[in-house]
Every structure is written in C-alpha cells, then in structure tokens.
Amino acid sequence: MNEELDSQLSAMFDDELAPEQCELLARRLSRDEQLKARWGRYAVIGAAIRSERGVRLNAPLAGRVSAVLLAEPALVTTPGARPTAVRWWQPLAGAAVAAGVAVGCVLWLRAQNPLAGAPLSAHLTAATVSVPSAPVVPAAAAGAAESYVVPRTPAVRAMVPSTELANYVVAHSVFSSPVARRNLLSAFMTSESGTAAEEPPDEPAVHAQ
C-alpha cells in the first residue's frame, strides 16, 4: 500500500478526509479485497483491545498493541499479507490475523464451538472471526485468558436459499421481533454474496506477524 493511500486511510479514520475523497476511497474499499481484509484486521485488533466478550486478548499484549496503535501517526502497513484460496462455504478468518501490527505481536487464535456436542453440529463450519465496531473499552483486567477466542459460526449449511426456504423466511419474518427480523432478512439478502476472506486456520490457529 502506498503512502498516499495510507495517508488517506488515516485521514478517513480521523474523519478528516474530504467527502469526495472519502467516497472515492469507499468505492475502492468496496472492490479491493486486500483493503477490505485490512479493515477487518484492524477491527479485530480493536475488538481484542476492547476485550469484547468472545474476543479476548491478554492484557499485556493488548496494551502493547494499543500502545503501537496510539503511537503511530498513521496506520502501520504490512505488505505481503496475501489471502489464501477460499472455499465458498468457508467463512472469513484471515481477517482475524493481526498482521497489520508490525510489532511482532502474536495473536493466538483458538476456535471454540459454542454448540459442541449438539447433534446438528456435525456440519459446523470452521472458525470465524468477529468484526465488531464499537467504542473503546479498557483492556481486560489481569487474569484474562491468554488467548484470543474466536467463536464458530453455527451455520449448518451455507445452502443457497431455495424459493421454498425464501417463502418460509418471509412468512416467518412477520412474527419475529424487530431486531431478529432485521437480522433474518439481512442474512437472507446477503446469503449468497459478501466479502469472503481467508481460509480459517486449523485449531489451534496461530498467526504471527
């Protein structure tokens, strides 16, 4: 990533990018998978620093990552973070790799299956990573687990919604709570597309940069 683009990203983060440039950069984001993956990585780092539930990072490491992020005048770039091949049914996990932080930090990824043991879990897909977006919360208190826990998605089958299933989803949506309904319909709207990302690593997954 060149310095100009890096500068633009930084300005956009700071809400200091002119609207027309912001729009151009957003368009680029929408078609540049590497750039998208980069956003995802930063978001994961942010989530880890905030120690959101299900996304935990040990406090000292969180502090180091935070310190780097706070100290850098612009976002640190890491060349060569090239995505690997993606199987269509496997969700994103590469964005979980904190490759964007060039301080030698290691995020230990460990997939956990929230429905372990459930009969229907036999078809569970591989680990995925949350891409949260929220205000900063202080890092976890001392004693937090030394792992970065990535929840598995309880997707049984990323099947293409049949017309029949579409009928059921639409009919059911009338009876869902407003929030659940929006989730359901949004998932249905996006069930065949989306930003694919790197193949998740085997468990326990360890990525270093």
Binding site: M12, F13, D14, D15, E23, L25, A26, R27, S30, Y42, A43, G46, A47, G54, S66, L70, A95, P114, L115, A118, P119, L120, H123, T128, V129, S130, V131, P132, S133, A134, V136, T153, P154, V156, R157, M159, T163, A166, N167, Y168, V169, F175, S176, S177, P178, V179, A180, R181, R182, N183, L184, S186, A187, F188, M189, T190, S191, S193, G194, T195
Partner: protein, 357 residues
C-alpha cells in the same frame, strides 16, 4: 485527534466506508425532509434505567418511526452493506431492505404485501399477509422473557458520537440466543446489535453507518432498483383454504422451556397451490415458525431425510411426520428448531382456518 478517538475511528472503519457508500444512492431516494439523529427529540422517562423498558422503547422505535439507514451486516466472516428504509404513514408500514454489495436482492413491504426480489433466481416472491398482521405479530418482552433471559444494562457508552445504553440479553439455556444492543439515548434506535450464543460469543452483528429519521419519505424510496424483465413472479393470491368439517390440528407435544404457541394460520405460499399450516412459537423474544404441508406424492415413496439449513444465524430444520413435511424456521440455535419440529403431532379436531392464541 485524541488518541482514544483514534481507536474508535479505527474500529468504525466500516461505518465510515458505509456512510460514503450510502452517498452513492440516487438523490431521488433521499428524503425530502431529513431529521438527523442529532435533531431527533429526546424521550426521557422515569423508567429509562430499566433494561426491559429500553427493549420496549427500541421495538417501538423500530416499528413506528420513519428511518433511513445504511448498515453493515456481519455473519460468518462475511461483511455486507445494506440499506433499510422504514416508513409508517397513515397506519401503513412500508419497508425496503436492499443489499448494496452483491446479491442485488431486495425485500419490500407495503402494508400487508411482502415482495422479495431475487435477481439470482430471476424470481420475485409476492406474499399477501392478513391485514391484521401488518403492524403487530412480533413477540413482546414480558415477565415470561425475564424467566429465560438475563436482561441487564451495561456501561453507557458512545457510539458514532451518540450516547447509547448498552443492553445485554443473555439466554439462561442453550435453546435461544442473546443480544447486546447499543440503543441510542435520544431516539431508542439500536445503532449496533450483536447476536450472541449462550457463552456470549458474537455470531452476528449489525452496525449502522448512517441513520436518519426523516419526517417524510417519498413513495419512490420503496421502488426496487432491480429490473424484473423476464423474471418469474410467484404470488399467493389465492385465498386461504376454507374451513372444513374436520381437519388435522398440529400441535407440539413438547416445547423448549418458555416457548408457547402464539399464532396459527392456514395459508398458501407464493408459487404453491397447497395449503400450509403456519404455527408460531415464541418465548417472548425469540420466535419459531413451523410450516406443515402434505408431503408431495412424488416424494411419498422416498425415505424421510431430515434436513438442516441456516440463514445467517437463524436456523431451519425440515422433517416428515405422518406424511406431512414439517419445516421449522427461527432465530434460534439449530437444536431448538429441530426440537420443535420433531415434536409436532397431528390431532383431528374441528377446523378453524385461522386463529390466534
């Protein structure tokens, strides 16, 4: 920029991108009179500290307000931007949900009419719902909900420069999901929602990048962008089946704790001439629909193979019981839909074509 805000901006990257993308929408779709969130009136009540009250306010805002927003939807490692436009005008709800990124799918609701545009299938589904379901039908938070969820308010925080109440809804067993909701202090709109499993792991997330509350939204905002030339249109224009002297009444022999049947109707689905029984079960927050239809003759000799599917974090399970295909769909874990579908049993009772419990 203060360093703390830098991290906020960092993690709101998608939001910024989404906001910019939203600017690409045609001007014709822009509301004539916008009321930004900053201009929205505050609604303070003495109960504002009660977490359940905030859920009610949120539901009220989502169903009665006009709003136009762009949000990111994350699930299974995939992020997509969508736009939602919601209007309540003269008691009629209009809503349009469109994928901005890839599929081109759109869902448009105009009163009791639900239209789903599926460009990938070159199909349009049009479902006409009973008018009485146009405004209500979703479960309400009540004492029953409190028995199966732990509803708490977390630390108030700022999101997208807005003060928010963070409400956590944690399930007490494995039959349901939980939520974390960032509810705007002034408007009660959820600016961010996370669907979580019992352990609190995030499995689905929606974050608004831009959100306005227009006083007026023109009809043009609810027209699809999809060109439907050559598309197949499937409708359920035929009337629901008439009551007969006796019919099979389907009921669940057992249900997960807290669930109860709240609605039952007979209907036809788009593209089908066969009647379908639609049963709705809810625990006050989550709901599961069960559809019952006679097994097609061409499939009668085939072994009944249960099937599971997922739509985002929602689950579907289909099986065959007594010559009928039973399909359960709901925003619950896979085991819950399987449990409910497998417990259905038919009883011969005097027919009532449509009733609510």
């Amino acid at each position: 920029m203060p360093s703390s805000e830098r991290l906020v901006a960092l993690t709101l990257a998608w939001a910024v991108a989404g906001a910019a993308l939203a600017q690409e929408t045609p001007p014709a779709r822009a509301p004539a009179h916008k009321t930004s969130l900053d201009q929205a009136p505050a609604h303070k009540t003495s109960l504002e500290s009660a977490p359940a009250h905030w859920l009610e306010r949120m539901n009220q805002a989502l169903t009665t307000r006009n709003y136009d927003g762009t949000f990111s939807h994350w699930h299974g490692g995939r992020v997509e931007m969508l736009r939602i436009i919601h209007r309540v005008q003269d008691g009629t709800v209009s809503e349009r949900l469109a994928s901005l990124d890839g599929s081109g799918r759109e869902f448009i609701r105009a009163g009791a009419s639900l239209t789903c545009y599926l460009p990938d299938k070159r199909t349009v589904l049009v479902e006409q719902r009973p008018p009485e379901e146009s405004l209500v039908g979703f479960p309400a938070v009540n004492d029953q909900s409190a028995s199966f969820y732990d509803i708490r308010e977390g630390t108030r925080t700022r999101l997208n420069r807005r003060d928010t109440h963070v409400i956590t809804v944690s399930p007490k067993d494995e039959y349901r999901y939980g939520y974390r909701l960032w509810i705007d202090d002034s408007t009660a709109m959820p600016l961010k929602t996370q669907l979580c499993d019992r352990r609190g792991h995030v499995i689905e997330q929606i974050v608004f990048a831009s959100l306005t509350l227009p006083a007026h939204i023109p009809d043009s905002a609810f027209r699809p962008e999809v060109s439907t030339a050559g598309f197949q249109w499937l409708r359920n224009e035929s009337a629901p089946p008439a009551p007969t002297a006796a019919t099979l009444a389907w009921n669940a022999m057992r249900l997960p704790p807290g669930f109860r049947m709240t609605a039952r109707s007979a209907q036809t689905l788009p593209g089908s001439a066969d009647p379908v029984d639609h049963l709705v079960f809810t625990d006050g927050l989550a709901s599961v629909s069960v559809f019952v239809e006679p097994q097609r003759r061409e499939h009668a000799d085939q072994p009944a193979v249960p099937e599971s599917a997922a739509v985002g974090s929602s689950s579907a399970f289909s099986t065959v019981i007594d010559g009928h295909k039973i399909t359960a769909v709901g925003e619950v874990p896979p085991d819950t839909v399987r449990f409910i579908a497998s417990q259905l049993k038919a009883e011969e009772l005097p027919a009532v074509s449509s009733r609510r419990h």
